[in-house]
Amino acid sequence: MNTEKNSAISIEQLRRNQPRFEGIKSGHRACLGCGQALAARLVTEAAGPDVVVANATGCLEIFTTPWPESAWHIPWMHSVFENAGAIASGMEAALKAQGKSTKVLAFGGDGGTFDIGFQAISGMLERGHNVLYVCFDNEAYMNTGIQRSSSTPHAAMTTTSPPGSERMGKRHLKKDILTIVAAHHIPYAATTSIAYPSDIRKKVRRAMDIEGPTFIHIHCPCPLGWGHDGANSIKVARLAVQTGLFPVIELERTELIGSMPIRHPKPVVEYLKMQQRFRHLFTTKDARAREELEHIQALADHNIKHFNLQGDTMDALDSDGADTVRRGGMRWA
């Protein structure tokens, strides 16, 4: 390491010489502290340059391509909201016909994945295309102004699931997309979170190495839609994992083959109270608020039991250990 202090470091030069691959460049228009922007950065970094991307409509598509500009450093294509799976399938078939080994990535939000793009994705998985599909889950249709999706968690407030006299935010449950996707009998389906960048990288590399359809589901806090300070995006994401509300797991075919153990499960309230979308649960007068808090805690407890998430020892790869830092940044490898 060069320890000579240097006040005249050229920013231009530094930008060109970063010791990492950047699939998405600066200047994109994501909100301050956007979890999805970070997740997409980490995914494309780990996937490397030999990829093409099919992107569904949504925040990621919009904030990276303010015409006539683009933040993409890799071949990228957008068609419509509902067809990323179909476009990716076509790209893969074309590359195959040309004898190329370039990997096809398909990106979508939770709306584009859980709901509107789902049949195209299902077809892609069923036909066995060699595509890595990444769902950036910010738990609502954010790009059009925070409408509920089938990924929105129970009791969360969105513009189309407002709390009021009838109900306390979203009435229904968050869809278990991973199990549905895995039911296509695909070789690899996993969840991960921006709170654990090494976990994202590890899973992307794993999926890149698999010939066939793979699926990665990333939990991405949205400061605007969830109502938290952008500075807290990682903190919120970490709490989702540590409470058990967002299980970090891996499925092969349909079997659970790995999970990030939770060392000390935290009460869900710690997670919920950081976000305005749950603020109606903290009104002291409404008995329904208490009931919903208990309901959400029960959902977390259920996840912990169902996916066997409770850790029994201190584990370097559990919810507390997986983000441990070392001098020199070695852990992010």
Partner: protein
């Protein structure tokens, strides 16, 4: 670039072109690297910065770590053994699991330097540089001399003893072996310090003569006179002071004959003489009106000795009668046969001032052959009577300057308000050498401001893992005989683990968090060190000011500041 490509509006854009747009214009606050002092640094009386040398050690640079350490404290093998380590009380890691074993790391580096005979890093002062006289070759004097050298001044240390080291030689060998004192002081003198032995102020020369001959004088004579002690004016004929006995033991290896003894006092000297007596088969009590210290609940009237020393003394069989005092001496002729003791405490009066209260009806008799006071020492004013004016200590300002004399400074045990530790002595020596250097350059002495400290709440401890603190091996009580040092140093493996426990409070750890987590690629990594001392640079063209990097920086090194 293929410019012939024709596509419809909205259909195509060249990659990377978003960089033309500067999202930095959105920003209302800006992240900034900001060094803040680690609490270990802020609480070290010598002024050491453990964070800095631990970082170097953790980066695999032990010699540089030692050089960083001795740039402040030239006696780490010594202080690593005997300092009460307030740095560890301050250490942020204490709020998480257990404080870092800073003193053990300090000792490790000191011992490593002895083992490898590393030379103290300093360039010789120019031949025409001002010459400073230092009186007393204890830690205060030696530290002052070292820092005079580092400030480009010539320096001579005078001491009445034949060897440099001062009271360090009185600290018993089982805690601080004389060999360690010699190994460190001799190498330090070799760095370019002139040493004149067998020179007693008031005998060879008086203070005013020293003042005339040298550009400045630093007085570090320690406290060589025992405070007077009696019970209602009565003292036994064969009274031995604790410090005197310790010195005698050090010099000739013998003690006056006795079977039972009571030591009066609650400081290091009391504990050390009691432990020495027990080692020599004497049934020994310590009597003190203070409380036994409990690090978790410090009290104003706690015994002054270090809890570690007190515990080891108890393990070895020293009996401590705290909250007790002596009411009367039982004498046969002028020889002690026992003492009448009474329970007493120091309690606050209406104004909160502590004063002693004895509790009637709690008197009892203790049969002893010797009563050994170890209640404190005062300055021996020989040769500097005009300066001390019959006081117990020398009065100085925050920089160590003696009031009313331009070129006389003082430090160490001899000055008023000093807590009587080696580390404070070292700190006084360093500050005063700086003051002398500034004065000689006709610079004014600035007001000393406490540093801005990074607190536990400023860190993000999500990124650290619990890990047990490294403990030095201690000899079992049965093997603590004679002079053998009872605590061993840490092994290399232990030190490696221990340095990794450091949170690097307030200084960049090069963990890559900010670089990894910025959603806007607005943290750039640099091979060359940036002006602020880190290897990361903010790209303000794109930084939106979200604050995520500051929140996720484990060390509290990034601050968000307004930027409108």
């Amino acid at each position: 670039m293929n410019t012939k490509l024709k596509l419809t509006r909205g259909g195509f854009a060249w990659g990377d072109t978003s960089c033309n747009y500067h999202t930095g214009t959105w920003r209302v606050q800006r992240p900034q690297h900001e060094y803040r002092a680690a609490p270990c640094h802020a609480s070290c009386p010598a002024g050491e910065d453990p964070q800095a040398y631990i970082a170097l050690l953790d980066s695999g640079k032990p010699q540089q770590a030692w050089e960083e350490l001795v740039s402040i404290n030239p006696l780490p093998a010594i202080t690593g053994r005997v300092c009460p380590h307030p740095c560890e009380t301050g250490c942020n890691r204490g709020d998480y699991d257990q404080p870092l074993a800073i003193h053990s790391i300090e000792r490790y580096l000191g011992d490593l330097a002895i083992e490898h005979d590393w030379a103290y890093p300093v360039t010789a002062p120019p031949a025409d540089a001002p010459h400073i006289a230092v009186l007393g070759a204890g830690p205060a004097g030696l530290s002052a001399a070292w820092h005079c050298l580092r400030n480009g001044l010539q320096v001579t240390v005078f001491d009445e003893e034949a060897e440099a080291g001062g009271t360090l030689f009185t600290i018993p060998n089982y805690r601080l072996p004389d060999d360690v004192v010699r190994a460190e002081t001799r190498r330090l003198l070799k760095a370019g310090i002139n040493f004149t032995a067998d020179f007693k102020l008031g005998r060879e020369m008086n203070l005013d003569e020293l003042q005339r001959r040298y550009a400045a004088v630093f007085l570090a004579p320690g406290v060589m006179k025992s405070s007077e002690w009696s019970i209602d004016g009565v003292t036994p004929r064969d009274l031995h002071q604790g410090l005197h006995l310790l010195k005698e033991w050090g010099d000739v290896g013998a003690l006056p004959p006795m079977k039972t003894a009571v030591v009066i006092g609650g400081g290091n000297t009391a504990i050390d003489i009691a432990r020495l007596l027990v080692r020599n088969g004497v049934d020994t009590h310590i009597i003190i009106h203070s409380s036994m210290p409990d690090p978790a609940h410090p009290l104003a009237d706690d015994m002054r000795a270090m809890p570690r020393e007190i515990n080891q003394a108890l393990e070895e069989g020293v009996k401590i009668l705290n909250h007790h005092g002596i009411k009367r001496l039982l004498l046969r002729g002028e020889k002690v046969t026992g003492i009448e003791i009474i329970r007493m405490r120091k309690l606050p009066d209406d104004n909160g001032k502590l004063h002693r209260i004895a509790f009637d009806g709690t008197e009892s008799i203790l049969h002893v052959d010797q009563v050994i006071p170890a209640i404190g020492q005062i300055v021996d004013q020989q040769g500097m009577e005009d300066l001390v004016h019959g006081e117990h200590h020398i009065k100085v300002d925050a920089w160590g300057q003696v009031a009313g004399s331009e070129n006389v400074f003082a430090g160490g045990d001899a000055i008023d308000g000093n807590g009587g530790t080696v580390t404070e002595a070292v700190g006084n020596g360093r500050m005063t050498a700086q003051a002398i250097a500034m004065k000689l350059k006709q610079q004014g002495l600035p007001v000393i401001e406490p540093p801005v400290v990074v607190h536990y709440e400023n860190l993000n401890t999500e990124y650290f893992e619990p890990a047990p603190r490294a403990e030095q091996a201690v000899l079992p009580v049965a093997e603590r005989v004679g002079e053998t040092e009872i605590e061993a140093g840490l092994s290399v493996q232990q030190v490696e683990k221990e340095t990794r426990r450091c949170f690097s409070c307030g200084s960049c750890l090069s963990c890559d968090n900010c670089w990894t987590l910025c959603p806007d690629n607005a943290v750039l990594k640099s091979k060359k060190m940036a002006a602020d001392g880190s290897y990361y640079v903010f790209d303000y063209d794109y930084c939106k000011g979200c604050g995520l990097c500051a929140m996720e920086c484990p060390t509290g090194y990034i601050l968000m500041v307004e930027d409108i």
